[in-house]
């Protein structure tokens, strides 16, 4: 019997994923796009179906048994998700949003509008996803704030040499824990403590974008030391339509509401309203109930595997991919980001000489290999790397070395099709 110390066996895991097991396809599917969105184990789909088929009713304020059970399951999902990231107060500090993007907008609009004033600076990094850029740009334009960026060096690591200078006058730091293009990891073991410490001295709060981190590594908000953590359900085996904001209770308590409506009030009069307590203060309207229950099932599934094993598996696959692709293509294939598998996630952005990333993805698709081509919602980083787009392969719990081999073979087909003679 497999135990938690054995390495994860992706072939066994993949059996739980209906989409990966369909026999009605012309060719087997090699899904290497989990950084865009992951697939779903039956346990997640079943949890949502079970909810809809046995328990559904609107949550909160319902007296009847069905509504009470729905509320219990929804709030239990919240606590479960909170425990997954080791939130000190999972029942109050976890806000369900529609995606990570909304979670970041919530902080920008609620915390940012209340606590920042003209001339204050926001420190981001050049490798942020648009989700952690545009909300701050909107806020900066509205309030006259300054935007500053940490650069990346040519190996794909954050350049922290100017940290103290950049932190001077900074009120908020927004930083991704894992780049969705370079794979670079920034966490309590790699670079984050210096940023957190500098932010503390400057009196700045730190929002961590965990969209590419929480699905792939054991996550502990206490160890990370940030004030806010945003992540998204559909990249961690969960459904679409749900994201998560974790925030330190005192921060969240001090913030004004974000969206207005039902659930988030304790009283409404004709001339105004009184917001209610955490976490509901930030959840206006009917929440994503089934989605929360699905995400909770995803968290259970991941916990069942063990996040340490998830991380170890992806580290090995990433190392294998770098070795294999390097051996086969050498200089003709550029792999962006750190070469040290300890410092990077299983996201591999590739550039094949003379072949456009969209053509790469197109040819790969013909071989059943799904990779994403484009700017990956990280246009500033693309400019910094000097490319318009990359082809990006990314792995998860169900991917195997055979998938990497299929990727390597298909890249060869692309290279030979387009080679300028």
């Amino acid at each position: 019997m497999a135990t938690m110390t054995d390495p994860l066996d992706p072939i066994v895991v993949a059996k739980d994923f209906p989409l990966l097991n369909r026999r009605d396809r012309e060719r087997p599917l090699v899904y290497l796009d989990s950084a865009a969105s992951s697939q779903h184990p039956s346990a997640v789909l079943d949890a949502m179906d079970r909810y809809y088929e046995t328990t559904h009713a609107n949550v909160h304020r319902g007296v009847y048994a069905l509504a009470e059970e729905a509320t219990t399951q929804f709030e239990a999902a919240r606590t479960n998700v909170g425990r997954f990231v080791n939130a000190p107060r999972p029942a109050t500090e976890i806000i369900f949003t529609k995606n990570a993007t909304e979670a970041i907008n919530l902080v920008a609009q609620s915390w940012g509008r209340r606590f920042m004033k003209a001339g204050d600076a926001i420190l981001l990094t050049i490798m942020e996803h648009h989700a952690n850029l545009v909300p701050w740009q909107m806020l900066a334009a509205e309030k006259g704030l300054e935007l500053r960026y940490l650069d990346v060096d040519d190996s794909g690591y954050l350049d922290l040499s100017n940290l103290d200078r950049l932190m001077n006058g900074t009120k908020l730091v927004g930083i991704t824990l894992t780049s969705n293009v370079l794979g670079t990891i920034v966490d309590q073991d790699r670079g984050l403590p210096a940023i957190i410490e500098a932010a503390r001295s400057a009196g700045a709060v730190v929002l961590a974008d965990g969209s590419q981190y929480v699905p792939h590594s054991p996550t502990d908000v206490r160890a990370l030391g940030c004030d806010f953590l945003a992540f998204t359900g559909h990249k961690m085996l969960g459904p679409t339509g749900i994201g998560v904001l974790w925030g330190r209770e005192d921060r969240l308590d001090a913030m004004p509401p974000f969206l207005g409506g039902g659930e988030m009030i304790s009283d409404v009069r004709l001339d105004g309203f009184t917001p209610t307590e955490l976490p509901w203060k930030f959840e206006a309207g009917t929440p994503p109930i089934a989605e929360a229950i699905g995400l909770s099932a995803a968290v259970d599934y991941l916990r069942g595997i063990g996040m340490e094993r998830v991380r170890a598996h992806e580290r090995e696959l990433c190392a294998y991919a770098i070795r294999t692709l390097g051996a086969r293509y050498g200089g003709d294939l550029r792999i962006f980001g750190p070469t040290d598998p300890d410092a990077r996630s299983g996201v591999l952005s590739l550039a094949l000489d003379d072949v456009h990333p969209h053509d790469v993805a197109q040819v790969l698709d013909e071989a059943g290999v799904c990779v994403r081509a484009g700017h990956h919602c990280a246009k500033p980083l693309m400019r910094r790397l000097g490319v318009a787009a990359t082809a990006r392969a990314s792995v998860y719990v169900y991917n195997t070395e055979a998938d990497i081999d299929a990727l390597a073979d298909a890249l060869e087909a692309a290279a030979s099709l387009f080679a300028r003679h």
């Binding site: 909160h60 304020r61 319902g62 007296v63 009470e68 509320t71 219990t72 709030e75 239990a76 919240r78 606590t79 107060r89 999972p90 029942a91 109050t92 500090e93 209770e249 304790s266 009283d267 209610t276 307590e277 955490l278």
Partner: protein
């Protein structure tokens, strides 16, 4: 599966239909405190006369469901004439009786104490009363099987706790 008879015991219905100590007390010397259940908008008003460290008199106002109103009525009967320390012990005991179920709702960080100003410090120290010694109040025990109604039952008690704090602070001032 809990049945209605667990919730609506005869004692509860009796206190709902014929509430004890209903009314107001002139303030001052009495102290008036209001509690409010944000889930339903119901309220309990506690008029409290504290003299020589005892609840010399208590009257109940406000409006709400059978559980909140009977709980208020039962409470008024239980604390009237009792030393404040004993009233506080009853509050603690009652809230403990009601909190059994809360935890399993996943509300770890969010007891029902917040709304009406009943603070956690109330719970932290001092004696309690066992359920056997709670007399008629024990009739409300069945409420824990109906988690959405727990706030109904605790509303008057949180309001009383707040009133005692304020009344004693006023006495000392």
């Amino acid at each position: 599966m809990a049945g209605l008879e667990d919730l609506y015991r005869e004692i509860i219905l009796d206190h709902y239909r014929s509430p004890r100590n209903r009314g107001e007390l002139p303030s001052p010397p009495a102290h008036r405190s209001e509690g409010f259940n944000p889930l339903c908008g119901d309220e309990v008003v506690v008029h409290l006369l504290v003299e020589d460290g005892a609840v010399a008199d208590i009257k109940i106002g406000g409006q709400g469901c059978s559980i909140s109103q009977s709980s208020a009525s039962l409470m008024s009967a239980a604390v009237k004439g009792k030393p404040v320390t004993q009233a506080r012990a009853l509050i603690r005991s009652f809230k403990a009786m009601m909190s059994i179920h809360e935890a399993s709702l996943g509300n770890d960080g969010d007891g029902e104490g917040g709304e009406a100003g009943g603070t956690d410090e109330d719970d932290a120290a001092g004696g309690t009363v066992s359920i056997e010694d709670m007399g008629e109040l024990a009739a409300l025990q069945g409420v824990v099987k109906f988690p959405v109604r727990i706030k109904c039952a605790t509303l008057p008690w949180n309001t009383l706790a707040q009133g005692l704090n304020e009344a004693e602070a006023g006495e000392q001032a």
